[in-house]
Symmetry: C2
Subunit: 251 residues, 2 copies
């Protein structure tokens, strides 16, 4: 027995600060982008960072993430089991707790992943600090030694979030979270192309998504906003898992 009798007494153990950080992704101009905010205080003052903040005393983790999301974007989302509401999807990503990840004290960050459609305001307001949508390729591209690093371990968190999003749109209907309420098959295809960084065959893609039951439901209208022949409009169907999955072309 190498443990003190107080092993089960939480007050006997050193306190941690708990934060939530948000990997908020969207697709803008055919590129996968993440929301960054500029830090106004040390440490990492002036660095770009993922939006986030401390979990409040009476607040659950998902609640805190949902609140942060609303503060940054005005979007509403529920963090429960990957629920989509008011256009935003929010789910827990992973927790980062390296002892030295914050130089001031022991901080454990519960990162969340949020997927949102392209938002009307390029730089979401509601906060005096600077904020921007940064193309993920500029932040994580290999060999980009010249880029300015993100604060803390946020580059790692971002990479994990992007990887989660990339793999999750394979076997779930989550890609629709990047689209407005009504969208065309072509718009959905461009989401996949942007997130995966590939080009997909429009005909096979069309056959696949329209043939997967519950993925898309026709909403009746058509649109011509992409140019070319008018395209049928769809809404996200009730399906959450895709069986069989969308296949990411092997690179």
């Amino acid at each position: 027995m190498i443990y003190p009798m107080s092993r089960y007494d939480p007050s006997a153990f050193p306190p941690f600060a708990v934060t939530v950080d948000l990997v908020l992704l969207t697709v803008r101009e055919h590129e996968l982008c993440a929301l960054l905010v500029r830090r106004g205080e040390p440490p990492f003052q002036g660095y770009w960072a993922l939006p986030g903040g401390f979990v409040r005393p009476g607040e659950g983790l998902g609640e805190a993430a949902s609140r942060e999301l609303a503060e940054e974007t005005g979007l509403r989302a529920h963090a429960s089991p990957g629920q989509v509401m008011a256009g935003a999807h929010l789910e827990q990503l992973a927790t980062y707790g390296h002892p030295q990840r914050d130089p001031r004290m022991r901080v454990v960050s519960v990162a969340h992943l949020a997927l949102a459609p392209d938002l009307p305001t390029p730089k979401p307001g509601g906060d005096a600090r600077g904020a921007r949508w940064a193309p993920v390729s500029e932040l994580l591209g290999p060999g980009r030694t010249d880029r300015e690093p993100l604060a803390f371990d946020h580059e790692l968190i971002l990479a994990d979030g992007v990887e989660r999003a990339r793999s999750k749109i394979e076997y779930s209907a989550l890609a629709t979270a990047f689209c407005p309420e009504e969208f065309t098959v072509g718009e959905l295809r461009r989401v996949y192309e942007a997130v995966w960084g590939v080009v997909l065959d429009p005909r096979n893609f069309h056959r696949k998504v329209t043939g997967t039951p519950g993925f898309l439901v026709p909403s009746g209208g058509t649109t011509t906003r992409q140019g070319g022949r008018p395209a049928q409009l769809f809404k996200a169907g009730g399906a959450t898992v895709l069986n069989p999955p969308m296949l990411r072309p092997e690179s």
Copy 2:
């Protein structure tokens, strides 16, 4: 600006206790089992609970989980990116932080998922408390209103861990973590059958796993420990993701 200037000052925010809990799964006698320990102190004194404990001051989350695993089973594992070592796989599962999940104070638990081969000792020693392998079906089965509940929110954590394991053996080579270093195709098939709770066609399964490059590598020998015709022995190959995945029969 609804935030205090101390928004970025961790010491200005209320402290949390941070624990790691372990969903440690194995396959025993064709059944998926989880390791439970009996609580010796309030709250939930006498209840069965997932093994776990507080994260120490200088310790990372994965480190803490790895230490707990070693304390409970003697197994070594590294939590880094799903690395398998000395027969055990360990990865972060999810974090649970409902404000009232521990009646004493605010505790955030970073749950980890561990997969191990059937261990020699039925009741792992190293700890004075009681411990047992409980079949998952007895803990989570639907409609079992008579079963004794687990401590805290551990039933939820266990359910999430089991679901993660079930889905992860579909598209990764993780099922081999349930097997000893050398194993036969039939033994691997029984792992899938136990975890998924289905029966699989031995011929199609054999074709599938031996045809997936990097999944299995022949180790040269054969064994007859299962009775019947001697079976070829394999070791886990280097592959971590299976493409195409194993398909769970639709129920």
